[in-house]
């Protein structure tokens, strides 16, 4: 990124002031609702619905959060979300790097065809495969099970593409040297290649974790009882209760859904945004 070497001329100063004004307004428009969500979740119900709307809670209360645990089985939804996200992430890291390695570094018949097949499905929208996937999972007797929630997402084409591209940049000599030393192919993959793939694995891991944590349609359909609800499903289904909506409860729930993803993102954002940028350019 270019930095400013020369002192600003008058015109630039005006341009800069305008840019700052626009950007700050934009930031408020984007972050404002989140802030309002957090603050409002700490208000009692009547104050949330108060007209005119307020920013800071006049009466500070954690009642909405307590209610999540008293009235709903929130720890369970949280655990379900975490379990599904972790399993899907681990699966993608393992299966995608296995195939990525094979495609980038091993020669075997059918390699090109397999790569093209994987690339081809990269474009297929989830809505197209959704009905047969459900029929399959249902025939396997996996509706409302963790396996049903996890299996269809364990191995995605995007991860293969990402891992293959990264693995191409790892020198063959390294692998060859390990082979000469008599290491088995899986040992080479596990001990030599994977540790070198940390940046790509991190990118894939964060992307997969966040998208699984926020996934909505599939768990909405496959989780049929409360025991298997993930956080977004629980939140969505409780937000259409009969009669008046309990905004306090929903806002507290929304904070609980957003926070883990936000923490993961904020801690790893450098890595994450770089990953998005590079995959976007390819």
């Amino acid at each position: 990124m270019t930095t400013l070497q020369t002192p600003l001329r008058g015109r630039d100063r005006i341009a800069r002031a305008v840019l700052y004004a626009v950007l700050v307004a934009g930031l408020l428009a984007v972050v404002g609702p989140f802030l309002w969500m957090l603050l409002s979740s700490l208000k009692p119900e009547p104050e949330i619905r108060q007209v005119p709307a307020t920013w800071l809670p006049e009466t500070f209360t954690l009642a909405n959060y307590r209610e999540l645990f008293d009235r709903l089985d929130f720890p369970r939804f949280f655990a379900n979300s975490a379990l599904v996200a972790i399993l899907v992430t681990a699966g993608n890291l393992f299966f995608c790097s296995l195939l990525g390695y094979a495609l980038a570094k091993l020669r075997f018949p059918g390699r090109r065809a397999l790569f093209l097949l994987v690339l081809g499905t990269l474009m297929v929208p989830g809505m197209v495969t959704f009905v047969p996937q459900f029929v399959l999972v249902s025939n396997m007797g996996l509706v409302n099970t963790y396996a049903g929630l996890v299996l269809p997402f364990l191995a995605g084409p995007f991860g293969v593409f990402l891992m293959r591209q990264y693995l191409l940049s790892i020198p063959d000599d390294l692998i060859e040297a390990a082979r000469v030393d008599g290491a088995g192919e899986f040992r080479i993959f596990w001990r030599v290649v994977l540790p070198l793939c940390r940046p790509a694995l991190a990118t894939l891991g964060i992307l997969t974790f966040l998208s699984t944590w926020n996934n909505f349609l599939w768990p909405l359909v496959v989780a049929t009882t409360e025991e298997r609800y993930t956080l977004p499903v629980a939140l969505a289904l409780y937000s259409v209760g009969q009669g008046r909506i309990d905004f306090g409860l929903l806002l507290a729930g929304a904070v609980v859904v957003v926070l883990p993803a936000l923490v993961v993102f904020l801690v790893l954002q450098r890595h994450f945004l770089r990953g998005i940028a590079t995959t976007g350019l390819k």
Partner: protein, 324 residues
């Protein structure tokens, strides 16, 4: 791609270590054995992914097409023999289904309004942050990206409150200037634009990051040269930035267009497709038909969606290419 055939002595990967003598004496049979072992190793690595991918993704893509030609219903799952091939009947029915046509129209609006809006916001944010006049770029970048990594359900909860006719922030702001704000999500004329704006708000951060990366690949001396020629900031943007950013813009447009074509979660959690089906999308229609147990019919609708996605991508490629 350079291949190193094992049968060619001296050029094999092991050559630099000086152990290629063994390769030189290798007979045809061991060479074949080696090739077979390589193939086995390759497939051993590829198999776990391929099985999962085939079962849960590749086969369903084809199964969806087959299903769309049948009258499969949820009640048939236990007695598959009762399912009949009905040819294109599901597709014919789709285009005489008022709800589907309404959903297609709504989805068209989502795409035609949503994509340009999201692109403009993303490009504006990226250009501002790339201008060199701004400090705290990281802060803005992360801030603008927040909604992208946030659960749509949580966003919907907040936005329903933000757009609430009485307690909402938007109408509170309007009241400050003496305007009585409408019921944004309850009005069948306003719900669709409201959700489109919300979707643009949610997604522009992704394009910003992609465009920022694209902007940084444009060499600084091109701007330098343009400045020496007396080009204004706008001229530089128009004649340097836009043309050089074209591939990135194309990527952004296609990805965003595909996203809006599949819009489901926003109308589901904000309005349940209402009021009066004014926010029903094609994906939502598929979901509903699936819920009613009409699997064959839902599969047909999903293939129409698939074909439109492919068509949109091809069209966008053509459009952007032909402007050269």
């Amino acid at each position: 791609m350079a291949t190193a055939p094992v049968t060619t002595p001296g050029t094999g990967p092991a050559a630099p270590t000086g152990r290629s003598q063994t390769g030189r004496t290798a007979t045809a049979t061991t060479a074949r054995g080696q090739r077979r072992r390589r193939a086995l190793t390759g497939w051993a690595f590829a198999a776990p992914f391929t099985v999962l991918f085939g079962l849960f993704l590749a086969i369903p893509v084809v199964a969806s097409l087959v299903m769309s030609l049948t009258d499969l219903r949820s009640t048939d799952l236990r007695t598959p023999l009762s399912v009949d091939f009905v040819g294109l009947a599901n597709y014919v029915r789709l285009f005489s289904d008022d709800l589907f046509l309404r959903a297609a129209l709504n989805t068209g609006v989502f795409v035609l309004v949503g994509v340009p809006l999201t692109m403009v916001l993303g490009l504006a944010a990226a250009s501002a942050l790339n201008s060199g006049l701004i400090r705290l770029r990281g802060l803005f970048r992360v801030g603008f990206y927040l909604p992208v990594v946030t659960s749509i359900v949580a966003i919907a909860v907040v936005w329903r409150l933000v757009l609430d006719p009485e307690a909402g922030l938007v109408n509170a702001l309007l009241r400050l200037v003496g305007v009585d704000g409408p019921n944004w999500l309850g009005d069948s004329g306003l719900a669709l634009p409201s959700i489109t704006v919300m979707a643009a708000w949610r997604n522009f951060g992704f394009l910003m990051v992609v465009f920022l990366a694209g902007l940084q690949t444009i060499p600084a001396d091109l701007y330098e040269a343009a400045r020496l020629d007396g080009a204004s900031r706008w001229d530089q943007f128009r004649y340097v930035t836009l043309p050089l950013l074209r591939p990135t813009l194309l990527f952004g447009a296609v990805v965003t267009g595909i996203g809006y074509l599949q819009l489901f979660e926003e109308p589901f959690v904000m309005t349940r497709g209402g009021p009066l089906s004014s926010t029903l999308s094609v994906s939502y229609h598929i979901y509903n038909q699936f819920g009613f147990g009409n699997y064959g019919y839902a599969a047909a609708a999903s293939y129409v969606l698939f074909v439109s996605i492919v068509a949109l991508s091809v069209l966008q490629f053509r459009l952007l290419r032909s402007r050269d």
